[in-house]
Amino acid sequence: KRQTFLHAFDIVDKEIKLIFSKMTSGFAWLELQNEDNIFSSGVSYLVQFPNKPKRDTASISGGEKTLAAIVFILALQKLKSSSFYLFDEIDAHLDAPNSKQLSHIIKERSCGSQFIMVSLKDSLIEKANLIYGVYPKDGTSQVVVYKKPTIAK
């Protein structure tokens, strides 16, 4: 049990390092709080954005927390991949450069998987394989497929 957990921990930790540095050119990693007593202690998640000190993910900014959370979710996929992901406006607090970074990584990860995302930002919409528009009509929701690649603003 301990061995299995340590193996899984390593996989996720390595993947976090990989994805985070790709997205932000900073560093991020996991730490075991107490290696001798794994199942009654916790796991810390530390990030270091470029030109900033390392910090726990609980005390960074709103946009930084969004990035850290997405990297954590995608790293867990390495351990056991979900068949699909449902994301509802996860990019709400990201600035333009980080939204772009997000769209690159999600696009990359979506091969062989399925990401169904509600998004308001162009950078994510542009990368989609399929775009649906939802609109209200006669008191109900109607759905229409957008033709790629022109997006009606």
Partner: protein, 166 residues
């Protein structure tokens, strides 16, 4: 396994006339004005996979999921969501290329489940989805406005997130 088609009828802002949404693998984007029904599409998927906590679908009680704007010309008011899974990789242990998972809810809050149009108990339904790793967790279904909470997980929650996947 992935979702190849979604059918929604009488569920939240979707009327009783069946709405069909064809999907494929990769990245799918849903857009539209505020209040148009985007989040309700994700709720319909969560509902069809057996979610029973009303709060997870942003309602106070299950029967509030039934569409309440237009009347149903075709009879009694039922909320229905059906997911068509592409099962060519046979992750769902059934001998068919397409597996449909359907849930219906009546006005008393009672649900009926179907796999490939055969009625099945809720327990068997959930077991089948679990075997194929189709259950939703807070790490693969992120509700609107909650993404930053994952960074605020306690250190135990982070450990458990890894443990759950082993």
């Amino acid at each position: 396994v992935y979702i190849s088609k979604l059918e929604i009828a009488g569920f939240k802002s979707f009327g009783f006339k069946n709405t069909v949404i064809h999907l494929k693998q990769g990245l799918i984007s849903i857009l539209g004005p505020n209040g148009s029904g985007k989040s309700n599409i994700l709720d319909a998927i969560i509902f069809a996979l057996g979610e029973n906590k009303p709060k997870m679908m942003r309602v106070d009680k299950l029967s509030s999921l039934i569409h309440d704007v237009n009347k149903n010309k075709h009879g009694i008011r039922i909320a229905r969501a059906r997911i068509h899974f592409d099962n060519s990789d046979r992750k769902i242990p059934l001998e068919s290329n397409i597996v449909t998972s359907t849930r219906e809810l009546d006005i008393n809050g009672e649900s009926t489940y179907y796999i490939n149009n055969k009625k099945i108990t809720r327990t068997k339904f959930l077991d089948l989805l679990d075997v194929a790793n189709l259950s939703l967790t807070q790490l693969n279904a992120i509700q609107q406005g909650t993404i930053t909470r994952i960074s605020e997980f306690s250190s135990d929650e982070k450990r458990i997130a890894i443990e759950d996947l082993i």
